[in-house]
Each structure stands twice: as structure tokens, then as C-alpha cells.
């Protein structure tokens, strides 16, 4: 009973840090960089991806006994593509501006390796509830990562956060941050930070292990 | 034959280290004293060690054969002095390994007459007889490689030799032995040439001399017997002009194929001191018991060119010539390729062309204690490498331990460790050291396969 509890929490938590899809697994880079020039774009993208992740994870998991092994990839793609199409229209219905700034990248959620990867690696082998938790965790991790990149890029690049102006007008914006190269640099910076934190974590773990043999 | 344009009488690339030859080039060859103990390694050459034919406690006469060749890739050894064999045991060598050697105690009062053997007459002997005679005389390349000369003289089947090159280039700084031999032993050289011509069947002989030894050129030109098909060519001064591959390239414009032999371009190259030794020894049926070396460098008081018995220890040699108190580096040969000595009790062998001694000052000035910077890709090594390798990239690969890639894609095994790349490197990267290690690793990795 206890073991199951822990593993359920773990299904969710691992996506946030230990197996963070962006910073650790470096998956789904394309949207992470392309639409993270503002925080709101990053958030929308993250939520849309999370939605597709959850829905497709649930569907795949629910249908896992119905789909024969040979037809699984094509089925997964169909399922994912349908949800993406749905999200695409929903966002268009919510705000045309938002849809315009995300461009074709909403449609490109289909080919985000994260989604197919989770469907294949996790959802197809686990129960609906675990698959949902996993998708939720991964999606949250993805969204948070995107948001981090987006926040940095928006603050420096546009002097605003979620579209709200931050500093006085005299603030010099760093145009590079909204350019593609800024995306690469912001990503590299976060990767370095995460690497460094992880290193420190393993080092301190190693130390405690040494101390308590 | 010549497919690409080469600077006149020289090769491309190379370096110009300070020569320091004036210090000893005017000093005539002198005989060296006999040390109280001589250590004669049974393996002073590439190939199989000789088989000792003396027992401990046996008395030997100077010039007597003490080791018989073990197969074709081996040469005989001779007693460098009349005396008694104290023991046959392991002795330290320059490479740091211990090698079986004959410890000989010369008789202090002996006249040191040399024991003559079966003479080999150049006019009547067949090529095969001469080859055997050379092997029995224990002749190896005296330039430093110590490759058995008789092996070299027998080209692989199907190869025709048309040119014999007598290599008197001697491009290493400080060394003047070949220079002095050319000045003082011209008759021996020409006699040696006769033997070599007979063995190889070459139609032409070229003596190669660097432009800093004009007096030797004049001397040889004057002394040259008119019946020899011989010419003397002077190459510009450049290191490493004396390397076999490059001297052939310089004189004939032929490039020995990668991994090939001089015979592949129908040439053969013999060191001038080796030639002189053949011409001196064979008519009397003697073997090599001594050789000419230059003892020089800033750490030596009585610099000079000495005819020294094989087996003299470095310590004795330095003592006799007055090494300074602050000796810091001693190396056998010149400063470019000569290996540094860590133990002064190693013997001088047939391949030792000189002893160069640096004091602390030179060591610090030239090599010591300098910061090693990362490679900055300045390409000086690329412009220095006479074999057109890419030492810069090889160095980076060596650092990443990509030894097989170095050998397979970048011709590591062609490197003959001339040191030109390390000499010019502004980052002070010990490239040659890396390559030596890499070559060793590649050989090791290749053996089981």
C-alpha cells in the first residue's frame, strides 16, 4: 500500500526535476525554443502540450489492450494528431492573436518527441491512472521549463512579463533574447545551471554515502 | 622520375636550430683512455642480440669476437680491449631497461694490440662474402639508428639499386664526428665505397655534405680516386637534412613511399662513418671495437672528437673530459633527437654518436620549466614537419588518446621523431614525447591483431 503511494507520487514528481523533459532529457526542443520568446507564449504552449500529453496518454493507456503491437505507432500518431488538431482550433477560438504568435508550432506538437516518447515508453505499459500522473508530471515539467526560458527571454528582450511592462521606459531591451540566437543562449544557460545543480546534488550524495557506509 | 618541384638540393619544411658545431669541428679526433671497466651490451643494434661466446673469467684480446650473430638480423660483437671477462650480466641501457652485457676489465698494462681476423679483399670477394664479412665485423649504422648494415645492403628481391648515397650530412647540432671522419679518414671512406659498390651493384655514388662542412667537401674532392663513379653534393644547412628519407629526397628528388624502404626508390643510403669503418676494418678482418664520438655541450670543459672504446660508461667519459659541477642534462647524440640519460653508468654503444651535456642554465633557457600552453593551432609545426604530417592535430589526438586514429588517418607511424615540431612549438607541447608514446601504444594494440 505504502509502496504504491510512493510510486504514484514519483510518477508525477520525476517529470518535474529528475527526468525533466527539457532540461534533463532535452526533448521537445523545437517548441521550447521557438515559442518561448514571451512568457505567455511559453505558458500557452506548455499547457497545450500538457493537454495533448494527458489526453493521448490516457487514450493510449486505455486502448493499450485494443491496439496490436504492429499498429501501435500509427495509432499513437493518429490519436496525438487528433488532439493536436482539437487544441489548435480551441486556441484559435480563444484568441486569434495568441494563435498567430504561436504560428504553426501548435500543429507541430504532433511531432514533439516527448509525447510519442511517453506514449510508447510509459502509457502503453501502464494503467490509465499512472499514465495520467506521468503525463501530468511530464507536462508540468515541460511547462515549467518553457516558462523559465520564456520569463528570461521576455524580461530581457521585451521589458515585460506576461505582457505587463516591468521597468521604466528607459530600460534598454536586449533584442537578442527575442531572436533565435537568444533562445539558444537562454537554453544553454539554463542547461548549465541545471547541470551544475545536478552535479552538486550527486556530489553531496556521494559525500553522504561516504560518510555513512 | 621527379614529379614535384623541390627546392634545389633540399627538402621542404624543416627548421634551423643553432648549430654549435664550431666548438668541436676544428678539433682532430683523439684516442680516449681505457676505462677500468667496460660494459659491452650484446645488443647494440636493432634485431636479435648476439650470442656470447666467452665465459666469465676468460681472458680476451682486443678485437676478439665475444658475441656471434644470432641469425641474419644480428651482428657480431668484439672485445673493445684486451682484458678479462669479469661477468656476463644485465646492465642498464639508455632506454631504462636492463640488457645482457659483457663486463670487461682491461689489463692496465696491455699494449692493446688489435687482433686481426680473416681479411676480405674487395677485388676478389663476392658480394655475399662481403655481406658476411660486414656482419662478422659487427658493423651497424653509426649515425645513430644502429641498424645492421649488412641487412640494409641486401635489398628485397626484385629491387634494383642504382644510386649509393654516402650520408655525411650530420645535421644534429653539436655533433662533428662525421665531419672529422671525412677530413681525416678519406682513404677509409673511399675504400668503404668500393666494398659497398661491389655489394649493391649501384652505378653511381653520391656523397652528401651540408654547406657548413665545405672543408670536408674540398678534402674529399681532392682525395677522390678518379676511377670511382663518385660525385659530392652540398645541401643547404637545414635540420633534419641527414635523415635517410630526406637526404634521398634532397639529392635525387625521390620520395620513399610511406612505410617503404630506400630500395623502393632504387637507392641506398649509408652513413659516412659507417662507410669509413667498413673501409678500415674489412681489409684487415677486424671488428668494431671503438667509434668516434663528439663530447660537447656547454657542460664540458675538454670538448672534442674522441675515438672511444665501445663500452666506456658515460660517467667515465664525462670524468675524463671534465664535466662541470652544475650538469643538469646529459644526452646521447645531439639535442634534437638524443635521448636524455638518467643513469650515468650506461655504456657508450655503436649507435652513440656523441655525448652532449647541458648545465642548469641551458636547460632552463632551452627547455626547462616553461609553461605548457594549449595548442593554439599556429601551424608552425605543420610548417616544420619534413614529412608533412600534422603534428598539431596529432598532438590533440594524442591528448585524447585516440592512438589508432593517429596511426590510421594521420600517418603517425611515419614520424621518425626528428623533433622539429617540438622545437618550434610556441606552446611548448612535448609533441615528440606524445608521438613516441602513441607509437608504442599502436604497436602494442596492433600486436594481438
Amino acid at each position: 500500500m505504502l509502496g504504491k503511494e510512493v510510486s504514484a507520487t514519483d510518477d508525477f514528481v520525476k517529470g518535474l526535476w529528475r527526468e525533466n523533459p527539457v532540461f534533463v532529457q532535452v526533448l521537445g526542443m523545437c517548441p521550447a525554443l521557438a515559442v518561448s520568446n514571451t512568457a505567455i507564449n511559453a505558458l500557452t504552449m506548455g499547457l497545450a502540450t500538457t493537454f495533448v500529453l494527458i489526453m493521448s496518454g490516457m487514450s493510449v493507456s486505455a486502448l493499450r489492450n485494443f491496439i496490436p503491437r504492429e499498429a501501435r505507432i500509427v495509432s499513437y500518431i493518429c490519436i496525438i494528431a487528433s488532439f493536436v488538431t482539437a487544441v489548435d482550433y480551441v486556441i484559435m477560438a480563444i484568441s486569434l492573436e495568441l494563435h498567430r504568435s504561436l504560428g504553426a508550432f501548435i500543429a507541430l506538437i504532433v511531432v514533439n518527441c516527448l509525447i510519442l516518447g511517453r506514449a510508447e515508453a510509459f502509457a502503453s505499459k501502464n494503467t490509465v491512472s499512472r499514465a495520467t500522473l506521468d503525463a501530468l508530471g511530464m507536462g508540468a515539467g515541460f511547462t515549467v521549463a518553457l516558462l523559465w526560458i520564456g520569463v528570461v527571454r521576455e524580461i530581457l528582450g521585451s521589458n515585460s512579463l506576461f505582457g505587463i511592462a516591468l521597468f521604466p521606459d528607459a530600460f534598454q531591451t536586449w533584442t537578442v533574447m527575442v531572436l533565435p540566437s537568444g533562445g539558444f543562449f537562454a537554453m544553454a544557460m539554463w542547461l548549465l545551471l541545471v547541470n551544475w545543480l545536478k552535479n552538486r546534488q550527486t556530489e553531496s550524495q556521494a559525500q553522504t554515502q561516504e560518510l555513512t557506509p | 622520375m621527379m614529379l614535384n618541384i623541390v627546392p634545389k638540393d633540399s627538402f621542404q619544411n624543416g627548421v634551423h636550430p643553432p648549430e654549435h658545431k664550431d666548438e668541436t669541428s676544428h678539433l682532430a679526433i683523439r684516442r680516449f683512455a681505457f676505462a677500468p671497466q667496460l660494459i659491452v651490451p650484446l645488443s647494440q643494434h636493432l634485431g636479435k642480440p648476439a650470442i656470447a661466446v666467452v665465459r666469465e673469467g676468460q681472458e680476451v684480446v682486443r678485437g676478439q669476437t665475444i658475441g656471434e650473430p644470432d641469425g641474419f638480423m644480428s651482428v657480431a660483437m668484439h672485445a673493445p680491449a684486451s682484458g678479462v671477462v669479469k661477468r656476463i650480466a644485465l646492465a642498464p641501457s639508455i632506454s631504462g631497461t636492463m640488457v645482457p652485457s659483457v663486463y670487461l676489465q682491461p689489463f692496465p698494462a696491455s699494449s692493446q694490440e688489435v687482433d686481426d681476423g680473416e681479411p676480405c679483399d674487395v677485388a676478389t670477394a663476392t658480394p655475399d662474402e662481403i655481406i658476411t664479412a660486414i656482419q662478422q665485423a659487427g658493423v651497424v649504422g653509426l649515425g645513430g639508428a644502429a641498424f645492421p648494415t649488412h641487412v640494409k645492403l641486401k635489398p628485397p628481391d626484385g629491387k634494383q639499386l642504382d644510386t649509393l648515397i654516402i650520408n655525411g650530412v650530420e645535421c644534429e647540432p653539436y655533433l662533428t664526428t662525421d665531419h672529422r671522419v671525412m677530413l681525416e679518414q678519406s682513404a677509409d671512406i673511399f675504400m668503404g665505397v668500393r666494398y659497398l659498390l661491389r655489394v649493391t651493384g649501384a652505378a653511381e655514388v653520391i656523397i652528401a655534405i651540408e654547406a657548413n662542412k665545405r672543408d670536408a667537401e674540398r678534402k674529399l674532392t681532392k682525395a677522390c680516386p678518379p676511377d670511382l663513379p663518385l660525385s659530392i653534393r652540398v645541401c643547404p644547412v637545414k635540420y633534419p637534412q641527414g635523415a635517410e628519407k630526406l637526404v634521398i629526397k634532397s639529392l635525387l628528388g625521390r620520395e620513399i613511399p610511406s612505410g617503404g624502404l630506400p630500395a623502393d626508390v632504387n637507392a641506398i643510403c649509408v652513413n659516412v662513418a659507417t662507410t669509413a669503418e667498413i673501409g678500415r676494418l674489412l681489409p684487415k678482418g677486424r671488428g668494431i671495437q671503438e667509434r668516434v664520438i663528439t663530447i660537447g655541450g656547454p657542460g664540458i670543459q675538454r670538448k672534442g672528437n674522441y675515438r672511444i672504446p665501445i663500452g666506456t660508461t658515460v660517467r667515465f667519459a664525462l670524468k675524463e673530459t671534465g664535466a662541470a659541477d652544475n650538469v643538469s642534462r646529459v644526452f646521447l647524440g645531439g639535442p634534437m633527437m638524443g635521448p636524455a640519460v638518467s643513469n650515468l653508468d650506461i655504456p657508450i654503444t655503436k649507435g652513440t654518436s656523441g655525448i652532449t651535456v647541458f648545465t642548469t642554465a641551458e636547460t632552463i633557457e632551452a627547455t626547462g620549466h616553461k609553461t605548457v600552453y594549449p595548442c593554439i593551432h599556429c601551424a608552425r609545426c605543420v610548417e616544420a614537419c619534413p614529412l608533412f604530417l600534422n603534428p598539431s592535430y596529432l598532438g590533440l589526438l594524442a591528448k585524447s588518446e585516440e592512438y589508432m586514429q593517429m596511426a590510421e588517418e594521420f600517418h603517425l607511424m611515419d614520424c621518425f621523431e626528428c623533433g622539429a615540431c617540438s622545437y618550434v612549438c610556441p606552446s611548448h607541447i612535448p609533441l615528440v614525447q606524445y608521438f613516441r608514446l602513441a607509437k608504442k601504444m599502436v604497436r602494442k594494440l596492433n600486436v594481438p591483431a
Binding site: S82, L108, L179, A188, L192, N195 | -
Partner: protein, 193 residues
Amino acid sequence: MSEASHWSIFINAALINNFVLAYFLGICPFFGVSAKLETAVRMGGAVSFVMLVASVCAYSINLLLEVINAPYLRIISYILVIASTVQLVEMLIRKLSPATFRAMGIYLPLITTNCAILGLALFQTNRGYGFTNAVVYALGAGAGFALALVLMAGVREKLDLANVPQLVKGTAAAFVVAGILSMSFMGFAGLGR
């Protein structure tokens, strides 16, 4: 309304709005296979080829979708048709030219569902390119992708032998290089007008 010239479309897709360096499309294979020059060249060739196939497919499907007036089927049909066409072509290549297949065949399955490919199909539709324009666009995008990949691979091979700090090694270094390349490609802006 002026029609952009083919040259302009090509330069735009290859250099100015390079798929990898400006749109971040195909980042996964970009980082995945750019460690060695040889694989990068092959991957570049394979991607260019698939882009061409995808472009033709997308053009045809779009015609069909417009006839039956079903824009909502675009995403799903693009991805399915492109994936299956590439698979068909792959089988064809394996039959016809085993050498070519060995050279780049193994990369084909990796890229069928790649964002650069689907991105190309969607962009050309959004821009309303006709057949020739679409083909030119695909060629440009492919060339640009291959160029970026090859440049990246060269630099990364060089970095293999450099003493890159442990923390940076790998993905972070690759991102920095990509960022600098992306900055350098800004020099091409304004070409192809």
C-alpha cells in the same frame, strides 16, 4: 501582389530563415547526429530528400483537402501521408540501390515524424506556395538544414579535442555553438530580396 522569385524563396529558406537556426525545427536530429561529420553529411542528405518528398505530398494533399473542404484534417493527413510515403520510398530505395540505402537509409525512419518535415509542409501551405515554389522551398530548407548540420558537426568535432569544461560538455556546448551559428546567420538577412 508580387510573387517572390524562386531564388528569393530558396535563399530565405536556406539561409535567412534557416529551419534549424531561426525556426528551431529539427533540433533533435540536429543535436543528435551532429557529433560526427560523416553522419551529419548523410543525415543532411536524407533530410533534404525527405523534405522534397514531404513537400510534394503536402502540396497534393492540400489540393485534395481544399476540394473536399476539410481543413481540419490537415495535420493528421499530412503526418500520416508523409510518414507512409517516406516508408514506401525507403523500401523502394532498399530494392533499387542498396548502397544509397546503407548511406542514408537508416536515418529515414528517424526523420519521418520530425518537426522539420511537418513544419515544412505546414509552412508551405500557410504561405500558399504553388507547386514549383513549394519544391524550391523544400530544396532551400533541405539545403539550409544540411548546411547547419554540417557546420555544427565540424565545430563539434573540433570541440571533441578541446578541453571543454566538464559542465559544458555535450548538450550545453552544442547549444552555445548553435547560438553563435544562429547569430552568424543573421548576416544573411536582407539577401534574396
